[in-house]
């Protein structure tokens, strides 16, 4: 009985730890229901990026998906990254290793801008 109780408590503790860790990760990334496992999702639609501003931890991979019916691309203002042209349903991923504020835009429709903050 004692062993059983100890095991139960241990199990509960481990579970609580796992839940807490998961909670912390999702607080640091944007809430996006359809993100690929491990990646933070940004949707491109209606000539805009959403969410327009996200904050992620260094080492996070971000995945952009173009859901618009017109091609767009993802270009960082300081040349850190540049995607190929994305037609509808095409995707671009980039892993942010260094902390900083990354402004990016669509170089085809430059009014479309957004930011990734990496902590």
């Amino acid at each position: 009985m004692r062993i059983g109780a100890t095991l139960l408590i241990a199990f509960l503790l481990v579970t609580a730890l796992v839940i807490t860790c998961s909670g912390q990760t999702s607080a640091a990334t944007s809430a996006a229901a359809t993100s690929a496992p491990g990646a933070t999702a940004i949707k491109i639609d209606n000539f805009s990026f959403s969410p327009a501003t996200i904050t992620v931890a260094a080492g996070t991979t971000v995945q952009w998906t173009n859901k618009d019916d017109i091609p767009h691309n993802v270009v960082s203002s300081d040349q850190a990254f540049k995607s190929k042209v994305l037609d509808t349903d095409q995707q671009f991923t980039y892993t942010f290793t260094k902390p900083g504020t990354y402004e990016y835009f669509c170089s085809i429709h430059p009014k479309m801008k957004a930011t990734v903050i990496v902590q």
Binding site: D68, D69, F105, S107, H109, P110, K111, K113
Partner: protein
């Protein structure tokens, strides 16, 4: 029959022989089919539905050319699954003009994704037009991968810069400008210093009575800032052209016809041959607008431009595919 008083607009309030109000009113009709001819500063307009009645000699220009725009070859979404067909319909419209135009100006977004086969298809289709010479400027869809190098090689190898050039025809000076390269985050179209310096030199020694036609993809006036419909540094370009008696600016990009008159400069944006876009502010974004199939060809079109020697402005007629 062609000179019935009710067709003529005579407003000369500034007493300078220029009928601006009449011109603007006429331009407002142009979208529904009006044919406007400026004669010695006085505007005469004729309803397109009565064009057959009009003595064509009176309205014919010394030469004419056609503007087409935004063919977006390769686009295949709901707004138009057959951009080949609608471009072919545009060519049929060109071929139905009473006098074959001297050449075609294409104001960009020739292709949808800058693919070689897309450019090839447009060239093939335009080969069927009565006008054999075509002059192109790029849209943002034509310079997607390589800063426009493929476009430059194909359409403007003679350009002293990144695709801009000029030529003369029938005494009219045509200027092709590129405003879709090096675009900055949050900005509009952009001409850039090198091109502006070239433009200043290009027109410097022309007499002010030389009619000027400028063609570029993105509008050279600010049509709607929220959607990026404008050019950051166009004011500088237009300052070099202010002294000329007749300047016509032909643009595309917004997939609908609009006109503006500013002194001696008249701006016209063209319809697309591929798909329409919403009017400024009438939709959340400026993307392709899907309309009922039987309405599509009423929102796509070509532009016929007639030049008559000695007249202030070019006679511009917009016609839809149906």
């Amino acid at each position: 029959m062609s000179d019935k008083p009710k067709d003529e607009l005579l407003h000369d309030h500034n007493h300078d022989g220029i009928d601006r109000r009449g011109f603007l009113k006429c331009m407002a009709w142009a979208g529904t089919g009006a044919f406007c001819v400026m004669k010695g500063g006085v505007l005469k307009s004729y309803s397109l539905s009565r064009l057959a009645d009009i003595d064509h000699q009176k309205t014919k220009g010394e030469f004419s050319f056609v503007q087409v725009s935004d063919s977006h070859m390769g686009f295949n979404k709901a707004a138009n699954p057959d951009v080949v067909g609608t471009l072919q319909a545009a060519v049929a419209k060109i071929n139905a003009l009473p006098t074959p135009p001297s050449f075609i100006l294409h104001t960009g977004d020739i292709s949808h994704l800058s693919k070689p086969e897309e450019f090839d298809t447009v060239e093939q289709i335009l080969k069927g037009a009565s006008a054999k010479d075509v002059f192109y400027v790029p849209g943002e869809h034509d310079v997607l991968e390589d800063d426009g190098k493929a476009f430059l090689k194909r359409y403007a190898p003679q350009s002293p810069g990144s695709g801009w050039y000029s030529f003369d025809s029938h005494g009219v000076h045509f200027i092709a400008l590129v405003n879709v390269l090096n675009l900055k985050a949050g900005g509009f179209g952009s001409l850039g210093t090198e091109q502006l310096e070239w433009l200043e030199k290009d027109v410097k020694h022309l007499s002010k009575s030389t009619p000027i036609v400028v063609f570029a993809h993105v509008p050279l006036w600010t049509v709607y800032p929220d959607w990026g419909w404008g050019t950051d540094d166009s004011a500088q370009a237009l300052s070099y052209l202010k002294r000329f008696g007749s300047v016509t600016v032909l643009n595309g990009h917004i997939h609908q016809t609009m006109q503006k008159v500013e002194g001696n400069i008249t701006f016209h944006t063209a319809a697309s041959t591929a798909f329409p876009q919403p009017k400024p502010g009438e939709a959340p974004s400026p993307g392709p607008m899907t309309v009922p199939a039987d309405q599509l060809r009423h929102l796509l079109g070509i532009r016929d431009v007639n030049y008559r020697h000695g007249h202030h402005a070019l006679a511009v007629v917009d016609s839809t595919l149906e």
